[in-house]
Amino acid sequence: MGPLMDAAFCAAWLEAAALAVAADRERLTDLDAAIGDADHGANLDRGFSEVRQALAAGGPGQPLAVAGVTLIRKVGGASGPLYGSLLRAMGKALGESFTLAGFAAAFQAGVDEVARLGKAVEGDKTMLDALGPAARAVAGAVRDGAEPRAAFERAAEAAREGALATVPLVARKGRASYLGERSAGHEDPGAASSALIVGALVTADGEA
């Protein structure tokens, strides 16, 4: 059992994720231009701006649940409902305060929801290739009795590696799959943004 975490941490995470997405907006769109339709950075940046507004408006509800619903309602595209469902599922599973183990379980539940909705598995060259390893890294850290900070660092590392590992893959889901063999040799934009979002856990932990 790790120490207790709370909703404020979730809000800080979302804030850090929003900043990271805004900073890399152009890179994400460029990745999407190569094997998709050149809007991933714009989509997520629009979505996370809305998330920040929704959180600033300060309504009730777990920040992750609020963020999830906001992404679903405001982004559109593939990544809107997928990231939205990830966060909504996590928010549903987490209360006002929770342990790192609770967080790990919620994270896995969110990732499972993405896989279910997207009908995708790891190796399909999607965000799952970063999210899946990241969720397992947090769970592993919990088993090892690690502190949140170390857990998040391991998750961020796993997500980054997972994202990079999409480069040689041939896409089987999403727009990149239309390219067939030509999708190989490019990093999946959704995996890249997942690495950013998971990486924001570390930033948020540093601040909290």
Partner: protein
């Protein structure tokens, strides 16, 4: 990037303002385009939608004999469930609503979420997936929906206008999709307002074969060739998947930046191809209908007609983008 826009973030909103101002037959509210006349009691409602940048699809096909509402998303980004839920509820005339959805992860996810969340309305869906450039298998996202969307919207719309029940409208919509195939070729990339630069670079002597309608690169590149050869590549791909015989509805569609004179040149070649196969172009459409912003290039969509579908195609339609018979 040189575009006739005010700013990248305002593109869709401004264009909808223009549509509303240009077409008194339309009403625009909360990013949904409706028939101004509202729903007709007892008529099945038709809702479609998808990313913007494909004009006149979809909003230009709202009107008598076609759609009841269209939900435009951001450029190349599927609409959000709220839009679809609002549209579905607004157009229900008590006979239920058909969702016409192009087969893209984003579109299917958002329409499914919306269908789940819409209360008190019977909803059926049809998935359009006509693009033979994409392999269809259990292990892929499946074929894209492109040009056949227009055919589905037109024929299902005609049937709904005639008072057919939801199940029958949905069945015919699926049948039109099943009888239709498309293939597209790009001479240039498009430029999305958000990215501000071409999605892909294409040398001056190359074309992209098997492109979609979102600036996705195609399956492969080939040297640029005369219209006759490009038409043949496209038609071979279609014919390979849907052997051409009998009466066909054929659309030669521009990708948005290709002038009509070139589309007619392509159509001449396509028609000759069809004739050489012993089939017949019974109905046709030549123009920019299912576009990809400013991309130059064309797609060809073929639908095998039967008597019922021919009648549905010929039925009156009155929309900004397609109009005959009234």
């Amino acid at each position: 990037m040189k575009k006739l826009i005010n700013s990248p973030g305002e593109v869709v909103g401004d264009a909808l303002k223009g549509m509303a101002a240009a077409h008194p037959s339309l009403r625009v509210a909360d990013r949904v385009v409706y028939r101004a006349a509202g729903p007709r009691a007892g008529k099945v409602g038709l809702v479609s939608g998808g990313g913007s940048g494909h004009e006149p699809l979809h909003a230009g096909f709202v009107g008598y004999g076609m759609l009841d509402a269209a939900c435009p998303g951001e450029v190349f980004t599927s609409p959000v469930p709220d839009q679809i839920i609002a549209a579905t509820q607004a157009v229900d005339g008590g006979a239920g609503v058909l969702h016409i959805v192009k087969n893209y992860t984003g579109d299917t996810l958002n329409f499914e979420l919306a269908a789940d969340l819409t209360e008190g309305v019977e909803v059926a869906g049809v998935l359009v997936d006509d693009d033979v450039a994409v392999q269809d298998s259990l292990y892929t996202a499946g074929r894209r929906g492109t040009g056949a969307t227009l055919f589905v919207e037109k024929m299902a719309g005609a049937l709904a206008e005639q008072g057919a029940p939801l199940a029958q409208v949905a069945r015919v919509a699926a049948e039109v999709d099943g009888r239709s195939r498309s293939f597209g070729i790009a001479l240039t990339s498009c430029t999305t307002p958000a990215a501000g630069k071409p999605t892909f670079d294409l040398p001056d002597d190359q074309v992209e074969l098997g492109i979609g309608i979102h600036g996705e690169p195609g399956r492969r590149r080939a040297p640029h060739a005369p219209a006759r050869e490009l038409a043949e590549v496209a038609m071979d791909a279609v014919h390979h998947d849907l052997p051409l015989y009998g009466d066909l509805l054929v659309m030669v569609n521009g990708m948005g930046g290709t002038p009509l004179i070139e589309l007619y040149i392509v159509f001449a070649e396509v028609e000759a191809y069809v004739r050489a196969k012993g089939a017949r172009v019974a109905r046709s459409l030549v123009g920019n209908y299912v576009t990809s912003l400013d991309m130059q290039g064309f797609s060809v969509t073929v639908c095998r007609l039967d008597d019922e579908l021919t009648r549905l195609w010929d039925a009156p339609v009155e929309t900004p983008g397609l109009r005959w018979g009234r």
